[in-house]
């Protein structure tokens, strides 16, 4: 129960921070970090997969409605929500009975960093490719993906390292 309330809070705070602060940051001219996916990244490992998908969809749509991009964030977020379990199993071996929240402490530093990097890159690639919707701007889009992913990863790892759990 406590976890549910914590997650609801996390959802609201992440959406507010993303929409009111980060969407206004124009780092290096056109780079926009998207840290709201931290919500999907830090859902418990054994969360029901259908619930993860639905939550990701709702989160994506919320961000979409604030940034005039119907569907784009929803698409990218559902995609990483679906791939999440596979990626977690790739890097870690968590015992049957455990249900930890992904973090440096439960995964180990190396595994957690790999997990965050892969998830963020998949999300940002899907998002920016969907935004441009063609291959004419492919260099600009790749540059955006690389720089934005880098900033997002740094921010997410920074936030995570502040919490001891």
């Amino acid at each position: 129960m406590l976890r549910v309330i914590q997650n609801i809070f996390l959802f609201i705070i992440l959406v507010l921070v993303q929409v009111l602060v980060l969407n206004n940051i124009q780092f290096l001219g056109f780079v926009n970090p998207y840290i709201y996916i931290l919500f999907v990244l830090s859902l418990p490992v054994r969360m029901k997969r259908w619930l993860t998908l639905i939550l990701a969809f709702v989160l994506g749509l919320t961000i979409d409605s604030f940034s005039n991009t119907p569907g784009m964030h929803a698409f990218a977020t559902v995609l990483i929500a679906y791939l999440r379990n596979g990626i977690i199993h790739l890097f870690t071996s968590i015992e049957e009975g455990n249900n930890p929240i992904p973090s440096f402490y439960s995964f180990g530093v190396g595994a957690f960093v790999k997990y965050v990097v892969i998830m963020v890159i998949i999300h940002h690639s899907a998002l920016f490719l969907l935004e441009s919707f063609s291959l004419t701007n492919i260099w600009l889009v790749s540059l955006k993906i690389i720089i934005s992913s880098f900033v997002t990863i740094l921010m997410i790892l920074g936030i995570k390292s502040m919490f001891k759990k």
Partner: protein, 281 residues
């Protein structure tokens, strides 16, 4: 039958995934049209109210610049009034024998002033939300300008808010021309820098130089002629090209945009109707 049910249970997560992705993708694709529904955009009342609240804080920090702009505009307007008074005085005697049947050209446009409540400059498709909507007389397809120059075109309207598709959006092409020789071409944003855009279709024989001013051509029914768009920043032409590749420095600073004017063109309906009729025949 049992196999089918087993199959559905086994792949339920996958099916849900595909279903949600299909919805998202459909939303993205439908949104590529020039007109889109008000739903799920920042002219949505809840979202817009929240943006307005956050904007009231940010606005405070922009007050000084806005004040300076207003003062400048004020003096310019006052000077213009004096100049017009003088002109009017000289023209007075001739007025008797001219009877006017139509709206005089200087009264074809009126302005609706509006405040920017949400604005982005860092995406490939940027949008601007304004705090005026249908009940203030805003219609879809009206032009939007600021004191500095052209901003964009109204895309969606709700009762109290409207969303503008600005020059900083690949979907919008504004037809503009050189102030000094009237050669015109479409202006398009390249998606990289909010200060610059690209001008196309200027043929090799056209003469111009760095720093030349570009204004709107008035060939559309939403932006009148003569509004500043930008200045020539740089241009290139290869030996084999027929057209110049021109980099334009935009007149408007989209990062500091806070007050704009929406242009209400009185003859919009009539012009649109007659153009449509011509296209149908």
């Amino acid at each position: 039958m049992r196999n089918l049910i087993n199959f559905l249970i086994r792949y339920s997560v996958m099916i849900l995934f595909l279903f949600l992705e299909a919805i998202s993708f459909a939303l993205v694709v439908n949104n590529r049209d020039y007109q889109k529904s008000v739903f799920l955009s920042s002219s949505n009342t809840l979202v817009a109210n929240m943006y307005e609240a956050s904007n009231s804080v940010v606005e405070f920090f922009k007050l000084k610049a806005a004040n300076e702009n207003l003062a400048e505009e004020n003096t310019a307007l006052k000077n213009e009034i004096i100049a017009l008074h003088n002109q009017l005085a000289t023209l007075m005697p001739q007025k008797k024998d001219s009877i006017r049947f139509r709206i005089p050209p200087e009264m074809e446009f009126t302005y609706i002033s509006a405040k920017v409540t949400n604005n982005s400059t860092n995406r490939l498709q940027n949008y601007i939300t304004l705090n005026k909507g249908r009940r203030d007389g805003v219609r879809v397809d009206m032009g939007v300008i600021s004191d500095e120059g052209v901003v964009g075109i109204v895309k969606t309207v709700s009762d109290k808010y409207s969303v503008v598709i600005p020059v900083l959006n690949e979907k919008l092409k504004i037809n503009c021309k050189f102030k000094k020789n009237n050669y015109s071409g479409p202006l398009e944003w390249t998606g990289e820098d909010y200060r610059f855009a690209r001008l196309d279709d200027i043929a090799r024989h056209v003469e111009f130089s760095l720093g030349d001013t570009l204004i709107t051509s008035g060939y559309a029914n939403n932006l009148p002629e003569g509004i500043p768009v930008g200045t020539i920043d740089n241009f290139k032409i290869k030996e084999s090209d027929a057209y110049y590749n021109i980099k334009v420095k935009l007149a408007v600073n989209f990062r500091t945009l806070s007050y704009v004017k929406i242009i209400d063109y009185k003859n919009y309906k009539e012009q649109k109707a007659v153009e449509q009729k011509a296209a149908e025949d």
